[in-house]
Amino acid sequence: MLTAEQVRLRAPSAEQRELAASAAGMFFRPDRDERVDAGPEGDFDRGRWTELAGTGLLGAAVPEGAGGLGLSVPDLVVLTEQAGRALLPGPVVETSWIAAPALAALGQEWAPALAATLHGDRVAAAVDATLRGPDLDVASYVVVPADGSDLLCAADRLGATLRVSTQDRLERSFRIARGPDGGGSAAQPLPLTDGLRVLDRGRLGAAAYLVGVAGGLLEQSISYARLREQFGRPIGAFQAVRHRLADSYVELEFARSAVWGAACDVAEGDPAAPVAITCASVAARRAFAEADRHCLQTHGGIGFTWEHPLHVWLKRGATFAARYGLRRDLETELGERLLARTGQQPRGRPPRPHI
């Protein structure tokens, strides 16, 4: 049901648009190619991470009193979408959505760890239910979802045992690996943040990032379709091409709204927010799947080359589409929920059409 407050909240404010524009300015570095941030052996780029820490992104959702920006969940969605659009490397979602708020919630004892994380001196990451996560070999803290309470593990010891190799992952520039199960000695139980479990936070953050990736893919494809000429005109003038891009845009806009709406649900304290997050995650995966298919096709052969950056967007999208739940599992979860909900209601009929 639409309420005045909801409707107002859900139209992104001028400030939020400004936030997106300024984030885009900070995250995009024309002098820098995010494709080469990891060397062939997959080293973590500490310099770049410190730079990103300097933007305030890592502590965006941490209260101002604890050294963060104190932004709302919808604001964080705005920032994270821009991070995806710029293909920011490293555990940006894990730190800003999960680990940094978790450290802040643990109070004074963990204040030094939080400060070091927000400055980029230490790395805080998280794993999803498959126990995979980015940059675990260099992480000092890893958040692990667990039955009962989610856990924060002080993981200084991991570096010695974990090797993150390019052989184990889809792309060079995103260093994902399998990590600890939280059974270590230094595990600290975590309270809910904004009423959400770690997996839900990661799901929403990753969906926002994925929407950004899909948006970046589409922007590049539109530019390419305007420039690339065949048969004496830009290929973007051919319906076969423009309709692909229009279809991608449709899915993108609805996914963007779904992610935004779920973030607003969280901000309003809606107890059904985790369901909205799961829906938004599916919508984001749909949007990426559509962009993935049509944008590579629009680029033709050039999109299949290593020199052209497109493949990095495609790979990052595939990486994020598999984080915090696979599409088929999320859909199954939603389908079961729908069946359970409907089982308690009287049978309805479809609406009569307007004819």
Binding site: V250, E251, E253, F254, R352
Partner: protein, 381 residues
């Protein structure tokens, strides 16, 4: 001349308004369906229902009170649409008038025209039709050929319109006709209000694939139209028509509720049939898409409430929602077979109507071109 009853404006408190609407609908929506609006009796029953809505102050929620509307805002309109669909209330035969014909007259009509036409529209005293499409001007609207010749003190109209919704019962048509040179494309078009009961107008109902005659062909043979029925400047009807389409494309908060009812009904059937393990994932996909549709609609209503102009978003809605609705209906067919499509089944009309969703109001191909042109900025084809 119609007398206009000035109404009290709608209460500004939206939640209070929702409570009022919900209570009124609970007490007034007819139990069981009204007779089929495709029959004379059924149409009459729907007309009576429109009058009850009008008398209760629930017609033209966001129209100015001086024309019989309720003077509400976009959110009042959205709340009413949600509650109306939730209550499973009858089809609105004034839908074209409420959503776009009236608002276009409010924008472009003279003071005299607004007084003359608007209250009768809301009360369903006169049924209004939109007369844009022609046999040779469907997707290509600027190809309109219906001719309106100026004859000293009136226009004389010859030509043909098609796909005219409620044409069979229509009293007035908001017509796009060519007053300039033939072949002038967007130039030399004018909007005229034509009395469909007048001399020279012939209406031929068109039976559709589902058997209903929801629309008609309308033929004009030297139809005299008074000068006072010209809406907006002569020869500049294209701008008026585009404004009309932008109203037609405004957010419809009832649409996601309808989609939800469609999905809930299907899920109810599945539960009653003892479940269908192979479809759990399909249902989850539909649920996620419905949720995105709700979120998108909420965002659009918010944007309109904040005063943002209507852009090409309606093309996105048409593309997204037409496919979603068709997929829900199609899943039902896959699960329950052709029996579900028998003429007496409640799903029969829904099935065929959902298949029309990618055609009416601008085909999916045209909508994609609108997105490509107006949002993505791709080179024109």
């Amino acid at each position: 001349m119609e007398t206009v009853r000035h109404r009290e404006p709608v209460v500004t408190d939206h939640e209070e308004f929702r409570r009022q609407v919900r209570a009124w609908l609970a007490g007034n929506v007819p139990a069981g369906d009204l007779p089929d609006p495709d029959t004379d009796d059924g149409f009459g029953a729907h007309r009576d229902w429109e009058r009850r809505l009008y008398d209760a102050g629930y017609s033209g929620i966001s129209w100015p009170t001086e024309y019989g509307g309720r003077g509400g805002d976009v959110l009042h309109e959205a709340i009413f649409a949600e509650e109306y669909e939730l209550a499973g209330a009858p089809v609105r035969i004034t839908r074209p008038a409420q959503r776009f014909l009236g608002p276009t007259l409010i924008r472009y009509g003279s003071a005299e025209q607004r007084r003359r036409w608007l209250p009768g529209m809301l009360r369903a005293d006169h049924i209004w039709c939109q007369g844009f499409s022609e046999p040779d001007a469907g997707s290509d609207l600027a190809g309109v050929r219906t001719r309106a010749r100026w004859d000293g003190d009136r226009f004389v109209v010859d030509g043909q319109k098609t796909w005219t919704t409620y044409g069979r019962f229509g009293d007035r048509m908001f017509t796009l006709a060519r007053t300039g040179e033939p072949g002038g494309r967007h130039r030399g078009l004018s909007c005229l209000v034509i009395d469909m009961r007048g001399a020279g107008v012939r209406v031929r109902p068109v039976r559709q694939a589902h058997g209903q005659t929801g629309f008609a062909e309308v033929f004009f043979d030297s139809v005299a139209v008074p000068a006072g029925n010209l809406v907006g400047p002569r020869d500049e009807g294209w701008d008026v028509a585009m404004t009309l389409l932008s109203f037609e494309r405004g957010p419809d908060a009832g649409a996601p509720v309808r989609t939800r009812r469609r999905l809930d009904a299907l899920v109810g059937d599945i539960v009653e049939a003892g479940g269908s393990p192979g479809t759990v994932r399909d249902l989850g996909d539909l649920y996620a898409r419905l949720s995105a549709f709700q979120a998108y609609t909420c965002r659009r209503v918010g944007a309109r409430l904040a005063g943002e102009p209507v852009g090409a978003e309606s093309s996105l809605v048409k593309l997204f929602a037409a496919r979603l609705d068709a997929d829900i209906v199609q899943l039902g067919v896959e699960l329950f077979g052709d029996e579900r499509l028998a003429e007496r089944a409640p799903e029969f009309l829904d099935y065929w109507h959902s298949r029309a969703g990618s055609i009416y109001g601008g085909t999916a191909e045209i909508q994609r071109n609108v997105v490509a042109d107006r949002i993505l900025g791709l080179p024109r084809c």
